[in-house]
Symmetry: C2
Amino acid sequence: MASKSAAGLEKYVRERVPPMLTDQYQFTMAYTYWKSGRHQDEAVFELFFRENPFGGEFSLFSGLTDCLLFLKNFKYTEQDVAFLKSVLPSTMEEGFFRYLLTMDASGVSVCSFPEGSVVFDRVPLMEVNGPLAVVQLLETSLLCLVNYASLVSSNAARLRLAAGPKKRMLEMGLRRAQGPDGGLSASRYSYIGGFDMTSNMLAGQLFGIPVSGTMAHSYITSFSSLEEVRHRTLAPALGEGPALDLVSLSQAWLPRVCSLLQVTHSEVNQGELAAFISYALAFPRNFLVLLDSYSVMRSGVLNFCAVALALCQLHYQPIGVRLDSGDLCGQSVELRQIFLSCSSRFQVAELQSLLIVGSNNISEKSLLEMNGRENEIDVVGVGTHLVTCPLQPSLGCVYKLVQVNGAPRMKLTEDSGKSTLPGRKAVYRLYSQDGHAFLDLLSLREEPVPAEGIAVQCRVLGGWEEETVTAARVERIHQQCFTQGQISQTLPSTADIRTRVQAALSTLHPGQRRLQQPERYKVAVSEKLYCLLRDLKNSLKN
Amino acid sequence: MASKSAAGLEKYVRERVPPMLTDQYQFTMAYTYWKSGRHQDEAVFELFFRENPFGGEFSLFSGLTDCLLFLKNFKYTEQDVAFLKSVLPSTMEEGFFRYLLTMDASGVSVCSFPEGSVVFDRVPLMEVNGPLAVVQLLETSLLCLVNYASLVSSNAARLRLAAGPKKRMLEMGLRRAQGPDGGLSASRYSYIGGFDMTSNMLAGQLFGIPVSGTMAHSYITSFSSLEEVRHRTLAPALGEGPALDLVSLSQAWLPRVCSLLQVTHSEVNQGELAAFISYALAFPRNFLVLLDSYSVMRSGVLNFCAVALALCQLHYQPIGVRLDSGDLCGQSVELRQIFLSCSSRFQVAELQSLLIVGSNNISEKSLLEMNGRENEIDVVGVGTHLVTCPLQPSLGCVYKLVQVNGAPRMKLTEDSGKSTLPGRKAVYRLYSQDGHAFLDLLSLREEPVPAEGIAVQCRVLGGWEEETVTAARVERIHQQCFTQGQISQTLPSTADIRTRVQAALSTLHPGQRRLQQPERYKVAVSEKLYCLLRDLKNSLKN
């Protein structure tokens, strides 16, 4: 974390994710394990999702850092246990509550994809093993930490793909997120997924994410006349002369701009002009204003140009404008032309490099449309469609038992899509000659690593069709990250994870990275795992 | 709060909602106000939404308690200000940062709907007044606290209406919410909206919400044979005899149940039987199990009946079953018949009153369908469709300036739906003779209260058509709840707010409470407010 020590992040997780943040049934199950003497049985759970989100063919895996910090601090307090006693069935024995007080994650180990990996449906993201009662109790908290983090970072990655690599992207969804921490998670994982900055100050403070922002409509409408500009003078940028009256300078430019753009001077809102001048006086080097409080083309842009030209006179470089309503693409093109004709007419080069920021209900769909149209938007601000993930508002990771005391386990419902893959697995990613990943292969732990350049037989998940694949490169994916109660790898910073995401996305075949109707990425099991699955299915059915 | 002192709730809000949880632009705006000497100007903001969520005709207002606690604790730390200095433009003057360090909400007052009120689009939910820079800085945090709280409590209220009053409703969405606090907010405000209980233990601990839950599939699949039941005996319920071997008792019942239901004994899964028996041994008075780990009708129900009958032999009352896949209605009817025929065949009355719990992707739509079909479901568990509000994942409350130093303000964009209503308002709710609310009337503060039984002229929002209304009862809605830095009303408990919600919903006309194609609820402005709006619009346009 750039601006936050690891200890600070640990405190953050400890405060927000106490072990009581879990479902009640974890305690009734743990009690039953304890009561039947099975609580120390060696259990293995896998955390995975069954379907890639948003109709895509990939997802990002996020939230691991918080999971590890949660595990490290996993410990019930006396108060917690007193509360549990007060709400759980009164028939429960005292010994269990004493057991809870001694419980921690010292018997737990985790191996997992690195945080920020590109991941696929039905491939275990994390494997958690340890005493049955303990690893059962971890379920809800781990799911809660991974589900939304992965969902929103995946959404951010898609929005980034939709916008193309050139636009800068600002997350601004705090007010629309699921409460305070929902907003904080949104900012953090949007940045990881590929956004450049956030409006959320606390996210900047806690996670070192670049923060950005300028003004709201209320700022503009709070001004009604130029008399409200109480301090009017500004010194030139390089201190090369006396301070000048920015109001007079702007007022002098306004009729010239009006004449160039053929707008009647009286149409221009004076309160807006006062707001822009005040902002320029406060932030002469960061002059970027909101144009649409009254009328973009009949007021906002004229006031902006007048104040920007005044700033240029004092050798400041104005930054740009924000559009927050209407046809963003069309307006941006018109604005660019206005800026260029002002620049040429008044011989002011600074107006050639202004930024145009677009916001207002921007979605994946509108970004794709934007990309297909002529536009001059340099920066997009995305709020609601980023943080609430309306195309699919939850990821649906599950946490399933695959082995107890060395014996494989599976859930076999009548809904075959909800069946699980038994046994403890190794996960390999297979790459083709051109460097693209083309298959994730799950095999049993004890099987040898698939050799590079040698054909391997496997069964593709879903239809179980046989397939023979040859990988130019084979990557063993899961890394041991938590060992017997301790975090056993260096925690990457938020910025490190963000970098990893972009690298990981580049290993995907473009057809699989496509947002709409992507090509299928195959996940397969080894022949041995397939046989285990078939045999166990048959034995459970009989 | 039943189980949590007011001080505990205050700590909770302080930790999660520091004043840094806001958008960067609030600081740049505040600086500009300060720089232009306007920061102490007396400003009035209103918080409202523009459209009722989910295609309905009402919403609930939630989140006020946290807003008030946030305001009470609103104070930047030295660390906060040091961070702000490090990320905000370096041209900002030191005096502003000193001002931030002295800032608190002692100049702020709030009047508002009571929390848990039924509210409508475009009616101010809260009015916040105080020094311009301070009330500006509050914007994002207040929106963040109100938006999701109101959205999810409204969603819960709709789901409750869809399910009908008889079903008990369990919120179980923690793992699918927007991270840890998203899940906590979901549990808290779902309860307020009309749910009966939550699976979220921390929500129980912090807010006194009843908690509930039994077991997951992993619990069932962790058992593979009866040998895993290590302690087998259970004493009778009233201690009236020796402990008996529950495994043997259940095993003795199983063939009789199989024969009654015409299922081959060998189809019944032994691991599942072991899991059920272990649960019965742990929770003989709370025996409620998940039926669909293998096959509901060829395994789950047989194992359940066998263990339930064994428990009945020992004079325990089994509680029921949970279905988590397939056709919930159809299965519930079949199960009820099985329970009744077991009860009659084996002469065990206890099987007549079993609970059937249904879960698995339950939504408003599926609850409405459930209501229209024969079913025997007593309790529904709702997760994803409750906490993520997929029909509309954000409420879209806004916070708009309506007055500065006594002068009305408005935003007048080219998108007329985004224009605001100027001036400081009084809000009245008008009731008809039969006790139903029929109109919310906004007038200027200085206007007299509309008299009961006397015709009042007003303009309906939207088309501005003139209308004359006569109210049998007029309620002045906004209450002063924060006065010059102090909370000026007693904070209601979570349970109190929940009770208020149900009372408020009952004042709605059934046609307006309807979930689909509801009748319109009218919101109107007084003639005076309408004139102000028209005049201000004209003056801003020129």
